[in-house]
């Protein structure tokens, strides 16, 4: 509720979300064809082509920001959504574009109904204990 106090004309507040509807950034797209759904913890990892700035003029500022953030350190879909302050669905579409352009790839998290390797679980336990 941070945008209140704009006087009587303030018909929206922080809770209402951004005034520009988020899906405007995806040009109205809510999905990206046949591609599988990107998991919240799928990491977006830059491809070598991502290192060349200004490579592609048709990228939106949001696309560019996703690439830049992932170059700094691979980012999960959830982190990108939070960092760019956009809904997860929007990030999925934008990352989908970057996949098509081969600027990034995404890691595939553990498939559903399959537990990770026992050695990894052991590593997790030890890692937690060592925190």
């Amino acid at each position: 509720m941070k945008d209140t106090g704009q006087g009587p004309q303030a018909w929206f507040d922080g809770e209402a979300g951004p005034v520009v509807r988020p899906y405007a950034m995806t040009r109205g797209r809510t999905g990206t064809g046949a591609r599988h759904r990107l998991d919240l913890i799928a990491l977006v990892v830059p491809e070598p082509a991502a290192g060349r700035p200004g490579l592609d003029r048709k990228l939106s500022p949001e696309h560019v920001e996703i690439v830049e953030r992932s170059v700094r350190t691979p980012q999960s879909i959830a982190e990108l959504a939070s960092g760019l302050d956009l809904p997860v669905g929007v990030i999925r579409v934008l990352v989908g574009d970057l996949l098509d352009d081969e600027l990034v790839h995404v890691t595939r998290p553990v498939p559903p109904a399959e537990l990770p390797d026992v050695n990894i679980l052991r590593e997790v336990i030890n890692g937690l204990r060592a925190l």
């Binding site: 046949a34 998991d39 913890i41 939070s82 809904p87 996949l99 790839h105 336990i125 937690l128």
Partner: protein
């Protein structure tokens, strides 16, 4: 147990991922993850509204708990395909999450599940590929945890119950809490202080150990 909304879409609904290679060339690229790609895992933190999920996540996360919004179609996408998505009426649900980097290339994400019952259908997505779950419980409102226990039981997701010690809340013997929650004897139950990092770490270790037992040992958890 006011539950049942999400039961229409089981985890098996979204098995179609291998087809990514068969689609467009760009998508095939997506599947070709290099060997050095980091591994990410997730643990869900569930429980009723106000039981301390955000505090719990914040106690161990190396980042300030982040908040992301998921746009949702109402009442449970039954299957994850694109048909019908075009005409979605969205609500957004805020999810809190945190991250723990265990080593270079291995990160654990914690997701606080939305507390309100009307967002149950989101859990299916969150539960996909989850390593395990914590059900946070408040002994003053144990009934708030029923739905979460039920959810993870049905899906065979390893979970532990962590009773959050609230100041001023009465302590009950473990047996009576177990009984009230109708817990399977194999499900670990621990007390915790969601504000305390060490305590939260112990809860997480308990969950992962339980997950390991379920992965390696005999299936002590009979399928329902």
């Amino acid at each position: 147990m006011a539950f049942g909304r999400s039961s229409s879409s089981g985890p098996s609904d979204r098995q179609g991922t291998p087809s990514a290679d068969a689609t467009a060339g760009g998508a095939a690229q997506a599947a070709a993850s290099g060997p050095a790609d980091p591994i990410t895992l997730k643990i869900l933190v569930a429980g009723g509204f106000g039981v301390g999920k955000t505090t719990f996540v914040g106690a161990v996360s190396e980042i300030r708990p982040l908040r992301t919004e998921e746009a949702l179609t109402e009442a449970g996408r039954p299957v994850d395909d694109v048909s019908g998505v075009e005409r979605k009426t969205t609500t957004t649900v805020a999810m809190d999450f945190g991250r723990i980097t265990l080593r270079e290339g291995l990160a654990l994400y914690l997701f606080g599940t939305p507390g309100q019952d009307r967002f149950w259908f989101l859990w299916d997505e969150l539960a996909q590929g989850a390593l395990g779950a914590v059900v946070l419980a408040d002994t003053r409102r144990l009934a708030d945890s029923f739905a979460a226990v039920d959810f993870f039981e049905r899906r065979g997701i390893p979970f532990a119950v962590a009773v959050n010690r609230f100041d001023g809340a009465d302590r009950y013997p473990e047996g009576s809490v177990r009984e009230a929650l109708d817990l399977d004897p194999s499900v670990p139950m621990v007390e915790c202080d969601a504000r305390d990092r060490k305590s939260v770490k112990e809860v997480l270790v308990t969950v992962v150990e339980h997950a390991m037992t379920m992965a390696t040992g005999a299936p002590e958890h009979a399928a329902t």
